[in-house]
Structures are given as structure tokens and as C-alpha cells.
Point group: C2
Chain length 504, copies 2
Amino acid sequence: NAHSGLSASRLGYAKEKMSENGPWGKVLTIDTMNPTVKKVEYAVRGPIVQRAVQIEKELREGVKKPFAEVIKANIGDAHAMGQQPITFFRQVLAMCSYPELLNDSSFPEDAKHRARRILQSCGGSSLGAYSASQGIDCVLQDVARYIERRDGGIPCNPENVYLTTGASDGIMTMLKLLVCGEDEGRTGVMISIPQYPLYSAALAELGAVQINYYLNEDKCWSMDLSELKRSLKEARRHCNPRALCIINPGNPTGQVQSRDCIEDVIRFAAKERLLLMADEVYQDNVYAEGCEFHSFKKVLFEMGPEYSDSVELVSFHSTSKCYMGECGFRGGYMEIINMDPEVKAQLNKLVSVRLCPPVPGQALMGLVVNPPQPGEPSYINFIKERSATLSALAEKARLTEEILNTVPGISCNPVQGAMYSFPRTRCLMTFLVFLLQENDQAPDMFYCMRLLEETGICLVPGSGFGQKDGTYHFRMTILPPMDKLKVLLTKVKEFHQRFTNQYS
Amino acid sequence: NAHSGLSASRLGYAKEKMSENGPWGKVLTIDTMNPTVKKVEYAVRGPIVQRAVQIEKELREGVKKPFAEVIKANIGDAHAMGQQPITFFRQVLAMCSYPELLNDSSFPEDAKHRARRILQSCGGSSLGAYSASQGIDCVLQDVARYIERRDGGIPCNPENVYLTTGASDGIMTMLKLLVCGEDEGRTGVMISIPQYPLYSAALAELGAVQINYYLNEDKCWSMDLSELKRSLKEARRHCNPRALCIINPGNPTGQVQSRDCIEDVIRFAAKERLLLMADEVYQDNVYAEGCEFHSFKKVLFEMGPEYSDSVELVSFHSTSKCYMGECGFRGGYMEIINMDPEVKAQLNKLVSVRLCPPVPGQALMGLVVNPPQPGEPSYINFIKERSATLSALAEKARLTEEILNTVPGISCNPVQGAMYSFPRTRCLMTFLVFLLQENDQAPDMFYCMRLLEETGICLVPGSGFGQKDGTYHFRMTILPPMDKLKVLLTKVKEFHQRFTNQYS
């Protein structure tokens, strides 16, 4: 290693590099940086999106294109797509930010009441004070009560709730607690394929082993017990599998898991001694008839003490999805169940180093779990806004599936929930694969890049989420406003036909 | 390792643990968790603070104590200590949260202008949209212009600015990029002792080598070139030192570095090929006559191209300190200078995994760097509020030093800047050290715990920040309101005298 050891050898090394990097050469180069960071990939903001931003700039500068605007369907960013925030939430946040507004008679009493309650729970009655590392006390209480209502009365202790900086932060924190060991004893974590790439990125950053289990595309992206077993068995040959991550409703796949399936997964985790991480940020986003959201916690407790006393479960939620779509506030929580008390103490210490999650996001999380109640002045408007958003999403989910399935060579599972479809494109044949292997570009990346250049539609290639070898997909959000979504779907359809003709 | 390998051995292990942990034993225990997390320590929210929270609860429950309230001087949390937010900032944040307020005639035009400008730079004109991972475009621009004004016109490219979730997040991200190598090639990072414990915690979490350099208490906690050399030379025997962290103005020590000292440090870093990390979050908190804040960037560029073209520097700022004290919003930025473009691309990817820093905190950072200007309607009030806070802090800094230095056995350097004093207590003699070695408690922890139990004053022992062997300190913030600060100082004085009598 040229960088360690005596000054003399360091000097020699530096002199070699002199011509490119000034007299001493850089301390931090691609060759001397953290190698685990280099392995991280994150497709949702990868090359396609970077090119989309460039194209937008070119359009502003007057460059002629075969389209007038870029339509982004690459990321679950509802407000950026024109979804309006819930009035009540924003009224309370405005009053919390500038408490003078508590004297403004144009704000409703229930909003004022929430704002006062949150401020009383803040140091110096200010959003500007650090909160306790676990979160503002009254919000922890409200989250616990929300979970109890959601799960039909199964108790939730606020001491097991941690507010987070979005769900990503909670997931990262839990994985960080878990990862240890070297070589064959290295911690392995099971994640679905396709997956949300935060998981693969976090595991790469932590140097953990990513264990893939494949969702069953032929059965509407459901989880298969036999596949879980296969995946675990193979992984045990080379690492120490310790956790199983589930996203329900699914991202990028949009499936909603049945109660039976969740029971199977819990039995499997109990038998195989796996900690369960349930990413449940789309818990309000269920559209398909006959589908219902079942929280892992509720199912776990209904399976009786044999399971509920022992299986370790962490569940994640967020302000970013559902009907509120408040991504920018970075609010979220996690609930830990059956965590060893000594580990919990370590978790408390770990979160205290970051001081606290952003307090406006905590306040917002508190409002999401304690919205206007029947009889309160804001209730009717709240329900109206929430229903409008959720039914628009349901309509877009239906339309997306319907139109994509009219395209020869595209097949799309029902978007039962969440905010994405993950259709399979069957045009990418051996010829194309052969063609692209040479320049090291994945066929679906090529497809999405061509789509972007020709139509201005920004989607993410399936390879960014993982897919079975030899299959090709893209992820698109269902979030663009209805008129743009229709344009998007029509353009995808036309493009796909052109593309198929060109490459077959 | 009982946890890896075949199912049979796993089963055996689990059965052993059956009695304590249910049928299978926990997956995640103190013995099977990430060992680097266990090594993390964070005194600012450690045992003293946990006990303080308990005592507060006991007081509320009516338990009799020799004091009526706990006074916390353990953390730089200005609003919790009653400091009022800047009106202008909060007005803009309220309008950004609830844009209906843009029609409210009671808000000044300059505040409306800022709110509109921020919202226009947000996706869907909403704080609820994700921003670009690097931050909101108009805020990046404003930060760059602020840095240029601050540094007398030295150019700042907004592409080198990254908004962060408080300064802690930026520091952690930079260290994460940097750390690599194994054994003697392991990355070492030089930090001051005393230090702010985020640094030691982050290094422990990343498994990097912490290299201590001692500040010179006899010279008002200044940095000594000879000590830097000693520290580096010793470290090179067992690791690969690659970065040097500086906190200026100092935390917990309150010193403000001279221009000459900064030049020395830059020359040292250049010669020894160290990346500089300058934690400059207290840049407005300078109180002592003759002291002035010099940014590392300004000094670097004034030293000419020999240095400014090659030395890698990252500077951190935050919304949490200075005159605004807005800790809860978790706003901050970092500027990177002379970073290798390939590494910058990796940094971009790394921050994109977390999507974006909290947008309200970004907006606030934007306001801090672009406050009301002369001639704007809010200017006079802004200046009034800012000056009131800064002069109150200056007065508290003076008073703290003055009173503590009247106590026999306590010596306290001038609080030239930042928000803390770090006085040395000389009462803790050999006898006490001997007494406490048996139960593994540091003498200064014992001192602070007794102080808390007897007086309700919550300070942090010096051992949480690091100190020369055989010296004992505590850190106290100067943030309590003047009346409480006087009570605090008097109680510390009386306690110290009692304590000294008791243990001598």
C-alpha cells in the first residue's frame, strides 16, 4: 500500500502523481476512498435521471426536441407531480413555525389545538430546539395510539417507537445495528427482487451480504415460501443470514400481501431465526378490490404468544407516501418489537449521536397519526382531500395497468397498491442483448434511455431494482396528473411499438 | 462462531439460550450486534443527562429535592433555553409551509419575496417535494454568494456546496467517503482533544483510527504545531493518517483561532498530505476583543495557488448555532474545495441514497445566508434581534469566565467564542482517583453526578470530550437565561467548595 508506512515512500508516491494533481496529489481519490461506498448503486437517481435533468436544461435553452417537456415518473414524489398537501397539516405546521399565527382567527380551532400541543412538547416551545433523540414525547404517544387503532387494539408502548428522518434513516439505522462478522460469518440480509434500491445501497455501504429472494411475477409479484427457503439455503453456504426485509405494499412491484402470505413469512422467520424488517410506508395505498393492508405486527400478535413473544420485528412508516406525500419533510417512525433490552440501549445511544430527527418532520408525523376527528372543524375537509387523492391514485393505478396491457410485448401486473407499476417488456431479444453486451449497457437501460431521448418520458430501468436474469422491466410511478399520465402511457405505447419494429 | 455454519449448530445455540429468550433466543443480542456500534460513545446525551431527565420526572411527581428545578447546561440548544427565533426566518417558513399566507397582508414584503423564491425552487412549489440530493437550487446559489461575501470575494461555485441534515450529517458523510484500509493501512483521522464527541462517535462507527492532538490549555486552548507533529508522527506507526479535523471557534473549548495559527495548520496539512475538515458552525459566535473569525477557505486562498490549488478542504456550517440556534430544523451545508472529480461523483451518489436533506431546514439555511438587507422592511428588526442575542451571549461568556475564576480550584480560559466553557477543576486529587478506580467511574463523572444530585445543575464531564490524563474538566453551555445562569454559577461555586472540603 503506497499510502501507509514511512514518509519517504509517501513522498515518492506523491511525486509520481505531481503532474496530474499539483505538487502533492490528492489525498482522497477514487483509488483511496472507501471501497464500500464505491459499490453503492441507486438507480432512482441514476444516469437516466441525470440525463433527464440535462434535457430539461436544453429545452429551457431552446434546443429543439421531438417533445416539449420531460415527464418524470422515476420517483415517488407526489407534490412534485402536482399533488396538493393536506390543508390541515400545513396550517398546523405554519402555526408551529410562527406561533404568532395562533392568534389568527382564520385558522380553525382543531389546528390551533394540535399546534399548541406539539409546541408544548418542544423545548422552549420551539421547533428550533432539539427534541429527545427518540422523538418529541407527544408524537411518540400519538404514534403508539395510531398503531393500536390500526391493529385493532394490540398494545403499542411508545418506548418502542423511534421517530426517524424518513423511513430510509430508520432502515439504515436498524441494518447498522445488525451487521457484523467476517467472511462466512458475515451478516446476510434477505431482500426481495425486485427491491427498492435503498436496501441494496445500505447493505453495500455496510459491507453486509445481500441475499436475493425473487417475487413471483406470474402470481402478481407475491412472496413464495419455497423461494424464501431456496434463497436462505443457498445463502447459508457463504454467510450468516440474520434478517428478512419485506416491502408491503410493494415497491416497485405494487403487490399487496395476503394475510396468509404474511403468516407464512412470520413462521418462516421464527423457524429460521430471522429478524423481520417490514417496510410498510404504503400502508394507506391499497387500491385493488379484495386487497387489504395487514400490518406484520397485527398478524404476528394474532398468531399467538408462540410467535408474538419471540419474533423480532421492526416496522417502518413515513410521511412521504400514502395520501400525504410529504417527502421533503423527511418524517417517519419505526416500531421495534421484541428487541433485546441491551440492544435497545445501544440503539438509543446510536440515535443520540445524530441528536434528533428534523422536528418539523416529527410534527408532521404526529399530525398524520392524529388527524382531524369526526366533529372537529377540519374533519370534513380533511376527509374530502384525503379521499380525492386516494381515489385519483386508484384510478391512475387502474388506467396504467389497463393501457400498458394493450401494448403487444408489454405485460403488467395489477397495481394493487403503493405508487408504481413494474411492467415487463418482452421485445428485448437475444439480438439486442448481444448488441449491448459489448458496451456494457443493460438492455433495459438502453430502452429507457432511448425512450427518454425520443419522448421525454423518464422511467427507471428494471435492472436498478433487480429482476430475474433474462427478463426486462421498467418502473414507472402512477403519480403524474391524469392528463400527463395519459400522454405518458400513449407515448410509451407508441415508442414500444417503434422500438420493437426497429430491433426485431 | 456459534451463529454461522449449519442449521444444526444454530439450533444447538438457540436451545442453550431458550430459557432466557423464549423458544429460539433473540437474533439480535449485545453479543451478536455490530461491534463498532458498541464502541460509540456520546457524552452530550450520556448518563448525566439521562439521570437529569429522571430527576425532572421525580420533581414533577413531588419527590423532595434540595432544588426546585433542573438547569440544563449540557447541550448547545439555544431555543430550549429560552432564546427566541428570528421573526423574519419564521415568517418565511410559515408562508412556505402554508402558501395561503402569501395573501396575508400582515407579513412583510421581503419575507413574502423570500418565500416565493424558495417555493419556486421546490418541485410542485411545495416543501413536501424531494429536492435534488445536493439541495434546493436557489439555496445552493445563496450559500455560494454568502461564502463569497464572507470571504472578501473569493469565488465559490454552488456545485461545490451540499446542503446537509445539520453539520453532523455532513461530517459523517465526509468521513464515510474517506475511511478505508486495514490494519496499519487503516485510515486515521486527527481530532482535537478536547473534541466534540460526534467525531469520536463517527470514527468508532466507521472503524477508523482516532488520532488525538491536544489543544494547549495554558495558551487558551490554542492549536500547537509541535503537538500536531508529535501526534501525526506517533500515529504513522500504526495507521494511515489522512485527515485533520478542526473546530473553530472551538467546542467545547471556546477558543477562536488566530490567522497565523490557521496558516500553520494549512501548511502542515499541505506538507503532510492531510485533508482538512473545518467545523465552522460557530462562525458568528465570537465575543472576545481582538478575536475574529477567519474561515479556513479564506486563509487558504490568501496563501496563494501553491496551497489553494491543492489542499483539500471541507468546511461545515449549520442553522443550529450562531444567533439563530435553530437546532430542530437540522439545516446545514458543506463546501468542498479541491475535491477529486471522481470522488465528487461518488459523493453525489452517496447523498442521493438518502434522497435529500429536510426541505424546511434547507429553506432555513437559505434564509440564514440571505437575511434581510438594508432598505428591506424587515432589516431593522432583524438586526435588532440578531444583535440582542449575540450581545447577550457575549455578556454570558464574560460572566461565566469571571465567576468561575473566583472559585478556588477552578480555572477557566476566556470563552472567546462558540457557546461553551470548559473549566478545569483541580480538586480531584489522587485520593479521589484512587477511590473511584475501583468502581470504574471517572472522577469527573462522579463530580458531575454529585453536582446534579445536590443542585439540579446538569453539566457534562470532561471525559466525554477528552482531556489530558490527570486533568479534570466539565463542559457547560453559556446558554441559560441570565438569571438562571447566575443561579447556576453560584451553585457550581458553592458545590465545588463543599466538594473540595469533603474530599480533601
